[in-house]
Symmetry: C2
Subunit: 157 residues, 2 copies
Amino acid sequence: MNTQTIITKDELLQHWLAHHNLTRKTIEKFPEKELFEFSIGGMRPFAELAKEIMAVDTPGLKEIITGEKTEFVNDKSITTKETLLKKWDEDTPLISEYFSKLPVNRLHEKFKLFGMYELTILNHVFYFIDNEIHHRAQGYVYLRALGIEPPFFWDRF
Amino acid sequence: MNTQTIITKDELLQHWLAHHNLTRKTIEKFPEKELFEFSIGGMRPFAELAKEIMAVDTPGLKEIITGEKTEFVNDKSITTKETLLKKWDEDTPLISEYFSKLPVNRLHEKFKLFGMYELTILNHVFYFIDNEIHHRAQGYVYLRALGIEPPFFWDRF
């Protein structure tokens, strides 16, 4: 097993923020109506997937840092593209703020998040990022099905 | 900027291999015909997305390690689910083998891969993993559209 550390805390944050920026561009590509209504195979519309990303990211980090139990719920009050993007832009700096407060020596500690998911804190962070890539990619298929070109996948470096 | 290193080389490899295992499960869920033919919005069928993952992973790592220029091409000879999974299983241990040969002190070196993409080697590795999550998620939408339940996203820990 190779235990040399290779990624700094700041590199992981920048990687996350770049993905977060690409997801924002993906939201922007959707027409208002399709953002909240279009779906394939019984899946949730992209607005609900984006809200799930927001329900995980900052509440998840906050719970890990403060230990205060948080509920894992999508924000039902968001019903327009404008308010969705507004909340997105309010949350984005909080990712940096909370992440900066995460002590490196706690990263391999197991933590039960939202009363349900027990993983190491590092694996929670990976999960937040992977979950965002996963749901955004589903948004790409929705866009293609709607005849809309998604943002370039590499347009985040 | 926080420059404390937080992820070991082995942790990143295990993270990648867990995703790779989940992608294999996703391939398995497809019926033979739909794997090679079903698509949405003019996108490639899932077999082609899986072949792209294979065209990137081990050839990419190999080029980074050896410096020998490699072509970025999908394997046209793979036309059945059985041969796709066979190649997948042959390639998987090569990810570990090549990754173990990647010197940690080269990770922040810029490298032009497949004669096209210039990123740091660490960002290439992130790209390999992210690209796999991205395309697999598109396979999830195909499966849902076909009325097939995809594997659980967390079924890799």
